[in-house]
């Protein structure tokens, strides 16, 4: 019952939090001392990036690992990995778009060869590669195994992205929310808006994942019916 209730509430709660983020970000929070109103985009961009790089990609990686381990191998794990990676592509593209929109007035260019931007773009192409790999294999088991291994390999890029901010000379913001000894840098209504934004977009990911998962289950049902029809046809062929 709790599960059903939480599934029913996921959509409305997500919409409320996102609406709250927009209201707070656009009308309530003050402009930044340095960036002015441009800071309002940062109530969206970091949260989307967090979901893109860690939540969605991480979900796809964990589900892939669960599929690869015999004890936890199941079609559910494969479906979750596939759907999470699709949603990840959407969030990665949004990360790059919002980042570019913020970057244009800040750096003067739509695209700067900044380490984090570049790494995020690479991750986006990796995610597209995952989807291309799935399309190249019709056999479900073959497709699931190869995709899972590829997701694990792609995940190796995530720590490289994480460390790139510290190690590479970069135009990108350094740590924005916390310092290296975990002192909060953002205060007041800005901090609350940022927190609500992170929670809202994280829930948005899970909402989209659930919707995509349901679609995938329906698609597989249709595919199974097609296979059953092909099998009957083949058996009739032999009887003639």
């Amino acid at each position: 019952m709790i599960r059903q209730l939480s599934q029913r509430l996921l959509g409305p709660v997500t919409l409320v939090l996102l609406a709250l983020t927009i209201w707070l970000g656009v009308w309530v929070t003050p402009p930044d001392k340095v960036q002015g109103n441009l800071v309002r985009l940062l109530y969206v961009h970091p949260a989307i990036a967090w979901v893109a790089l860690y939540v969605s990609f991480g979900t796809a990686t964990i589900a892939s690992a669960l599929y690869l381990w015999r004890r936890t191998r199941s079609w559910v794990a494969d479906r979750v990995a596939h759907c999470a990676m699709e949603v990840s592509v959407v969030f990665i593209i949004l990360t790059l778009i919002t980042g570019s929109i913020w970057g244009r007035p800040t750096w003067g260019v739509w695209w700067a060869w900044d380490a984090r931007l570049t790494s995020t773009a690479i991750l986006g192409v990796l995610a597209l590669g995952y989807l291309a790999l799935r399309r190249a294999n019709d056999d479900p088991t073959l497709r699931a195994k190869r995709s899972a291994v590829f997701a694990i390999l792609a995940a190796i890029n995530v720590p490289i992205i994480h460390f790139s901010v510290q190690w590479w000379k970069t135009l990108h913001q350094g740590a924005t929310v916390f310092t290296s000894n975990r002192t909060l840098l953002v205060h007041g209504s800005m901090a609350w808006t940022l927190l609500i934004s992170f929670v809202g977009f994280t829930l948005l990911f899970f909402w989209l994942l659930r919707a995509r998962y349901r679609l995938e289950v329906a698609r597989e049902r249709v595919e199974r019916a097609t296979l059953d029809a092909a099998l009957s046809q083949r058996q009739r062929e032999g009887a003639l």
């Binding site: 019709d138 056999d139 088991t141 595919e223 097609t226 296979l227 092909a230 099998l231 083949r234 058996q235 009739r236 062929e237 032999g238 009887a239 003639l240």
Partner: protein, 217 residues
Amino acid sequence: MASDPLVHLVDAVVFTNGFPLLSGVDLDVAPSSLNVVTGANGAGKTSLLRLLAGLVALSSGEGTVCGIDLAKGDLRQLRRRVGWLGHEGSFYADLSASENLRFCATALERPFDQIDLVLERVGLSARANTTTRQLSAGQRRRLGLAWLLLRRAELWLLDEPYASLDDQGREFFDDLLAEVTGAGATVVVSAHDPLRSARLRPRAIHLAGGRVQGDRR
């Protein structure tokens, strides 16, 4: 008391790219027997052999080969126990006949001194140092046999082995089949037509539409 079958399939189905290659095969194969699987093109002969070799996965149904469950067992272990002769050839084209056999022997930890013996047995001693790319189709087929002789597998799976063989080659092949089944191996051969040999009396299994439609012992 009859021994357990070496191959036991119940309603075995194999799908590839959405097409049912096998659509419900029921089959038992006794150990130390010679079996010929016949059928028209597209009947599922090659697919059946590949299933028995552990080269394709079982989509549904049950099956055990050499005691290994096709759905849950370790197919790598199964593959080590079968000898496979495909109709496309089995080797690295840029390695010579003896180099290919040496690779096989090293992989299976067999002594090298058997290589010359098997090459002589199949009539390829003179071509030992010829790359397989330069061998004729019939010679490549003989090299495949040499590969099988080196392996001493308990289950031999031969996919249309008589193709590309002349009369002498076919007779040689019949001798070989009689010898290996007499030595205890189980052989499953696929062919378009039943074997025309006077000496061999194989069981004839007829496939059509991916299922067994006839079985004559």
